[in-house]
């Protein structure tokens, strides 16, 4: 009696399970009648940024009537997690933002990206430097199309600097320290910091590390994930010493980087903080948060100050190259679209929409803003260029290090514990 009941139940469950699996077919990106449809995930939520993608897709669809592309805008902080989930579930978007480094390597190793080495058009190759492609290369193959060069540095309000009696942008950390004191006297927050998102706080540590550590040391650590070289601890101590003067805005721990007027970019945009350390996407983000949603007129840029006695080459710069990848399952038209947005016209439109330096050399010529020119100048003169460290170190260690830096800035740990946390992360992954 009991047995048959169980059997009946099991049969029902089995039938249902079959029905469930029957429904879970994948979504086809191309259909039989020659029409191709693709999805695109990008991280811009600002008005002009979304407009750029809409226009680019419309122009591409006009030139290729058989292609239709659906653009999906995903908030920057949500993008990585959603993308990984989508890639793992086999339901990935066809075209998506690629941050490079360890994350790209993991996607390549899992066979999730399309190899576009042979698909980069000769025109694209002519206009985009080899160095930019290097950031999208792994195991001698190109896995993404570079779209923008986004080196980091300090973006500041010239008006607030002037009001504090600062004439020249700081060149060393000592200069910066004395400028912080001057700015504090005028009642504004010297430096805005979006520590809620962790990585903006961690960038401070990464830049100190770039000044303290030789390039070869950083590359070695990227492989070994062991932070035993003394320069890492030195960088952590530098940052702790720098933060002891309380240069950051009040409540930086729960300040986000890009969302709303209370974010770090919003504080700079509304002249409540004098500067922030960011990548070159920052002018565009700041522009979207000013009261009139126009670029901040008095925005300036200076490279991260030098640290005396460091082993890093002076003038070294850190930054990313934003690229776009095709999913391995994407139709071949995906590569055409990547070449299309790397073209000079689209790159000029990109620069105007995002207020960020384009990767295309022809398009770079139309850049007029002095701060973007300064960014490009610092980038082109740099003796050593590193990717963002959290990208280089990979998701696990990068994530742990980001949080460890926040812990130290909040007074919860010290430099030694920061290095320990980075070393410990290896256990979990």
């Amino acid at each position: 009696m009991k047995g048959t009941k169980l059997l009946t139940g099991a049969a029902v469950v089995m039938a249902g399970a079959l029905a469930l699996t029957g429904c879970s077919g994948g979504s086809d990106s191309s259909s039989s009648n020659g029409k191709v449809s693709m999805t695109l995930w990008q991280n811009s939520t600002t008005g002009p940024g979304q407009e750029f993608w809409k226009n680019a897709v419309a122009a591409f669809e006009k030139a290729n009537p058989n292609v239709s592309i659906k653009v999906q805008s995903i908030q920057n902080e949500d993008l990585d997690g959603k993308l990984q989930t989508a890639l793992n579930s086999g339901d990935a978007p066809d075209i998506f933002l690629q941050r490079g480094g360890g994350k790209m390597a993991a996607m390549v190793n899992a066979g999730q990206l399309m190899d576009i080495t042979g698909k980069v058009s000769s025109e694209t190759k002519k206009n985009i430097s080899e160095g930019s492609f290097k950031a999208e290369t792994y195991q001698d193959k190109v896995w993404a199309m570079p779209i923008a060069v986004l080196p980091g540095g300090l973006f500041y309000s010239q008006d607030l600097f002037k009001a504090a009696g600062i004439t020249d942008a700081p060149k060393t950390i000592d200069d910066l320290n004395s400028d912080v004191t001057k700015l504090k006297a005028t009642g504004v927050s010297p430096i805005a910091l979006g520590a809620k998102d962790a990585w903006p706080a961690a960038h401070w540590f990464y830049w100190f590390a770039l000044r303290e550590c030789a390039g070869s040391t950083m590359e070695k650590t990227a492989d070994s994930k062991s932070f035993s070289d003394g320069c890492w601890l030195k960088a952590a101590e530098d940052l702790q010493k720098f933060s002891e003067t309380k240069p950051f805005n009040d409540g930086f721990l729960t300040t986000s980087a890009q969302q709303g007027a209370g974010s770090s970019a919003g504080l700079v945009a509304n002249h409540q903080a004098a500067m922030e350390l960011m990548g070159a996407w920052d002018p565009g983000v700041i522009a979207s948060l000013t009261p009139d949603q126009k670029p901040l007129p008095d925005l300036g840029f200076y490279p991260f100050p030098e640290v005396s006695g460091g082993k890093g080459e002076p003038g070294s710069i850190m930054g990313g190259v934003d690229g776009y990848s095709c999913s391995v399952k994407a139709p071949k038209e995906c590569a055409d679209f990547l070449n299309f947005i790397a073209g000079t016209d689209q790159q000029e439109a990109y620069y105007k929409a995002f207020n960020a330096p384009p990767v295309n050399a022809e398009a770079q010529k139309v850049v007029t803003e002095p701060y973007l020119k300064d960014v490009l100048k610092a980038y082109n003169a740099a003796p050593y260029v590193s990717q963002w460290l959290d990208t280089v170190l990979g998701q696990n260690v990068g994530n742990a290090l980001n949080v460890a830096v926040v812990d130290m800035l909040a007074g919860k740990s010290d430099p030694k514990q920061l290095i320990q946390a980075a070393n410990d992360a290896a256990k979990k992954g």
Partner: protein, 345 residues
């Protein structure tokens, strides 16, 4: 049915029987009418399969299956790309239990469990007693108390994080009132943040407790109050000796729901403190630890192991509570009290 023990211990007739006597709420306690005649085997089996099948299916697909899969992945070092191959036994579990960040998260969960019970319980009981009296504007007050519970967590989290920010509305108001000494970093100061969280939780969930208690109070028949009043009992004596004891089952169920909710707390913390800084601010819970060290770090094997640990902790707490606290309320339904069980079958 099985209330004889409670009868003698409290000296009060059990709710269910009273309801029958009063004839008001038909609490289903006695078998209604003669038992249905047994139908032939197959028809009955088909009926059971049809009725229970969909629920069983959903339960297996979305509860049992994920738990089993999580337990499986918890034994691997797995980045979430491709199949899991790097078997490491119990290493993930050892790392979790040794990780001070997890111990802190567990401690925060414990604080939230206790804090929710201690703060919400008494407040909700007083509000329920108040609202149980006939008074003007009663339904308006009920709605106002219940509104926070109905608002989505995301809205609540965003709203509070804007108001409590360092330069937010609350600190602005305190400054304008000249109460500068009360101005704090409500969300960023690790010494304060957990209390801020508890205050928000109380505000949000007290409405739920009040509604439960009100329902419980409405189930207490009027006659008892009248009889007590005739015997000369004061208002507080009546509440203390009649309302509260008869509210017992409701209280115990509410406490159960509150404990489980507190153990699994995730959304409010995640929205107010974001993906990264909950542990720094001292408001991390086991669930935010799981997301931070599982998904954000890309260590899906480790994250699954954390999920299993949370599941086991919740399960143990739930079983203990049912065994020792809820037993008399749910006798026969969940714990399978043998005495009544035999009588029914």
């Amino acid at each position: 049915m099985s209330n004889t023990r409670e009868n003698t211990s409290t000296g009060i007739l059990p709710t269910s029987e009273l309801a029958q006597h009063g004839g008001s709420g038909a609490v289903a306690s006695l078998p209604s009418g003669p038992r249905r005649r047994r139908r032939t085997g197959w028809a009955m089996r088909l009926e059971i399969a049809l009725l229970a099948g969909p629920a069983a299916l959903v339960f297996i697909a979305f509860v049992i299956f994920p738990v089993v899969i999580a337990a499986y992945y918890g034994f691997f070092r797995w980045q979430g790309y491709g199949p899991a191959t790097d078997f490491i036994g119990l290493q993930n579990y050892i790392t979790i239990l040794e990780d001070s960040a997890f111990q802190q998260a567990l401690w925060h969960n414990f604080l939230i469990v206790i804090g929710s019970l201690v703060l919400q319980g008494p407040v909700a009981i007083l509000l329920a007693l108040l609202l149980n009296r006939k008074m003007r504007g009663q339904s308006l007050i009920r709605v106002l108390i219940f509104v926070p519970y109905v608002i989505a967590e995301v809205v609540v989290g965003t709203g509070w994080s804007l108001m409590l920010a360092t330069n937010g509305a609350l600190n602005g108001m305190l400054k304008n009132l000249g109460l500068d000494f009360l101005v704090h970093d409500w969300l960023s100061d690790p010494n304060i943040a957990i209390w801020t969280l508890l205050a928000i939780l109380t505000w949000k969930y007290v409405g739920f407790a009040v509604i439960l208690f009100l329902a419980g109070l409405q189930g207490i028949p009027e006659e008892l109050y009248e009889a007590a009043a005739l015997d000369g009992a004061s208002y507080w004596q009546i509440q203390r000796r009649i309302a509260l004891p008869l509210l017992g089952p409701t209280l115990r169920i509410w406490a159960f729901l509150s404990i489980i909710g507190a153990l699994q707390l995730f959304d409010l913390v995640y929205i107010i403190w974001g993906q990264y800084v909950a542990s720094t601010a001292g408001t991390s819970t086991m669930a935010t630890y799981m997301v931070a060290n599982g998904r954000n770090a890309g260590n899906f094997g480790y994250g699954n192991a954390v999920a299993v640990v949370i599941f086991l902790i919740s399960l143990i707490v739930a079983l203990f509570y049912q065994r020792f606290v809820l037993r008399r309320d749910t006798a026969g339904a969940i714990t399978g009290d043998r005495r009544t069980g035999r009588k029914n079958r």
